[in-house]
């Protein structure tokens, strides 16, 4: 019994060392820009870099568009599948899982072939078009996470009865969806939004191959040309991901509190 406990603690210790030592090393290295003493100079350098501000701002904007349009696609789809087309659930689940199976580079080459400037839908022919294509590719990448989080939230409410209750009170589809269903799956929507945000902020392949000034390619550029700044950027990227994960936890905890008060 004691032996089992020892191995359990050993496994946890190895795991923690495996995850945290490189991170601590990176953080420690990022503080060494000034010779002989620790400082946040590398962070100062990163934050004052105009390119950082531009790429960071661009990626945030892209993330917000991805979340908004992604949710406009996912929430009605999950709702419709649950309400009217339950037989389509396996098909939709399969489609939403595809981005996990097909590498991003394959998807983006597909896009370039289909939507290049000499195609019938020349998205890449203009900056705006390419940005639209980038948002669409981010929506595709985040689909598995968005769909699952929204679908799980829908499972916690009686979608069919709520819809019927609203319908018999005279409500039409937009009212039913945005006033009766959407607010009740907000925890799932927010969880999906934060995970999408984390994915978009760190995504490299799509942005690089579509030649857009996003944060991912900037990370790579700085990593190839500077010494301490890449470590600072890695720590910043981790902090953003953890913040998103923390917010997901907070949202799901807050949503769990309501049913708990029912008891």
């Amino acid at each position: 019994m004691k032996m089992t406990k020892f191995f359990a603690w050993l496994a946890i210790a190895i795991g923690l060392i495996y995850f945290f030592v490189p991170l601590l090393g990176t953080f420690e290295f990022s503080l060494r820009m000034r010779r002989g003493e620790y400082s946040f100079d590398a962070y100062g350098s990163v934050f004052s870099d105009v390119q950082f501000q531009q790429t960071f701002g661009f990626s945030i904007l892209m993330a917000l568009f991805t979340i908004a349009f992604g949710m406009l696609l996912v929430v009605p789809t999950a709702y419709w599948v649950r309400l009217r087309l339950p037989q389509m659930r396996p098909v939709v689940e399969f489609v939403t899982l595809m981005p996990l199976v097909i590498p991003a580079i394959v998807i983006v080459f597909g896009y370039l072939r289909l939507y290049n400037s000499s195609s019938y839908i020349p998205f890449t022919g203009s900056t705006f078009g390419t940005n639209v294509l980038l948002v669409m590719s981010y929506i595709t990448l985040s689909l598995p996470y968005m769909y699952r989080s929204v679908d799980t939230a829908m499972r916690t409410i009686d979608v069919r009865t709520l819809t019927e209750a609203a319908e018999i009170l005279g409500a039409k589809w937009p009212t039913i969806l945005f006033r009766c269903i959407f607010p009740n799956v907000m925890s799932g929507v927010l969880s999906g939004a934060f995970i999408t945000f984390a994915i978009v902020m760190g995504e490299f392949t799509m942005a690089a191959l579509l030649n857009r000034p996003a944060f991912g390619p900037y990370l790579q550029l700085v990593g190839a040309n500077k010494a301490y700044e890449p470590s600072a950027l890695a720590v910043i990227a981790f902090a953003m991901t953890w913040l998103s994960m923390g917010l997901i936890q907070l949202v799901s905890r807050l949503s769990k509190m309501a049913p708990a008060r029912r008891a």
Partner: protein, 353 residues
């Protein structure tokens, strides 16, 4: 003129026909209960009235207007669901106000109407509460207020009391009936609980396998069941196997007992097997008991049930139960004892299959 008319209503799901040629006329202000076991088609009829299901054939007319082609949202019908179906993101006030807001009514009117509805269900003090902060009974009363707020022409109640505990169920059903009488709203109530249906309805429709086996007042349904199914589904009933003795004299034989029926059986043949029914509360063992008919048999068991004593006795292979009111000095009939049950011939019902 009838207010709600269901004419030759049929509904099939694939190959399965769940409602078979259903006809009914309901007057304005009437309280109708659809009673039947699970899968008998009662909820499907309710959902067709609401517009959630489209009839395979037949028409639904409300106040002279054919509802075919009208969407649920255009029918002006109120509905209370078994699972309450209150919007979890809205408080009581907003839930009750929902239908009025959707209809685009002025804010002041909405406020007045919601307050009026909350007063009706005695929950004015809970206007700011959210559904998860209330008990099941309170939630269902809010659901009733929400359904009534837009002044619907018909109120549909889909097993609204099933999810509640026994005590709340009784008080809420009385409240529902009182509110329905007060507002004079035509109401269709679906339930599988016979006591609920018997206690609050003007008329009951007993459904069996997609058809109405009997439509009648609670007293009719209980005292004069039209079919064997109605007899067995509503209340406790002894179904007794008998044979026709002399059709012309209306006599039948149950074991060694020869009994004269009130209902004519001249069309039957002598020796033909038939079924008759007798309610457990219809007879008495007392010598002085009123009743022109008697059945003699052997006691099988006696059970004390609190307010009544239920005794089972055997008559020609039929086990017949009868109830006696409890009294402190009452001596229970003992097994193997021979007893004679006296009752009125009119209490013995001829059962059609």
């Amino acid at each position: 003129m009838s207010f709600l008319v269901l004419d030759s209503l049929k509904k099939s799901f694939g190959q399965t026909q769940v409602v078979k040629d259903f006809n009914m006329s309901i007057d304005k202000g009437e309280f109708i209960s659809f009673l039947g076991p699970s899968g008998c088609g009662k909820t499907t009829i309710l959902r067709m009235i609401a517009g959630f299901e489209t009839p395979s054939d037949g028409t639904i007319t409300i106040n002279g207007k054919n509802q075919s082609g009208l969407k649920t949202s255009q029918r002006n019908i109120g509905m209370v669901f078994q699972a309450y179906a209150l919007f979890p993101n809205m408080n009581v006030f907003d839930n009750v106000a929902f239908g009025l807001k959707v209809a685009g009514q002025p804010k002041a009117e909405i406020e007045t109407r919601v307050k009026e509805m909350l007063k009706l269900i005695h929950l004015e003090h809970l206007a700011d509460r959210y559904p998860y902060q209330m008990s099941g009974g309170q939630q269902q009363r809010v659901a009733l207020a929400r359904a009534l707020a837009p002044k619907p022409q018909v109120l549909l109640l889909d097993e609204p009391l099933s999810a509640l505990d026994a005590k709340i169920r009784v008080s809420l059903r009385e409240e529902i009936r009182q509110i329905q009488r007060q507002l004079g709203i035509t109401t269709v109530f679906v339930t599988h609980d016979q006591e609920e249906a018997l206690s609050i309805s003007d008329r009951i429709v007993v459904m069996n396998a997609g058809r109405a086996d009997q439509i009648g007042t609670p007293s009719d349904i209980y005292n004069r069941p039209a079919t064997r199914f109605v007899a067995s589904f509503v209340g406790t009933l002894n179904i007794i196997d008998a044979t026709v003795a002399e059709p012309a004299a209306n006599t039948i034989r149950i074991g060694e007992n020869v009994i004269t029926l009130r209902e004519p059986i001249g069309a039957l043949k002598s020796g033909e097997k038939i079924s008759v029914a007798l309610r457990p509360e219809a007879g008495s063992l007392a010598e002085s008991a009123k009743g022109d008919t008697a059945l003699t048999g052997t006691v099988v068991s006696s059970h004390f049930l609190g307010s009544v004593v239920r005794t089972k006795f055997d008559v020609g292979g039929n086990q017949i139960s009868f109830d006696m009111f409890n009294a402190p000095d009452k001596v229970l009939p003992k097994p193997s004892e021979t007893v004679t049950l006296r009752f009125a011939a009119s209490d013995l019902l001829l059962i059609k299959d």
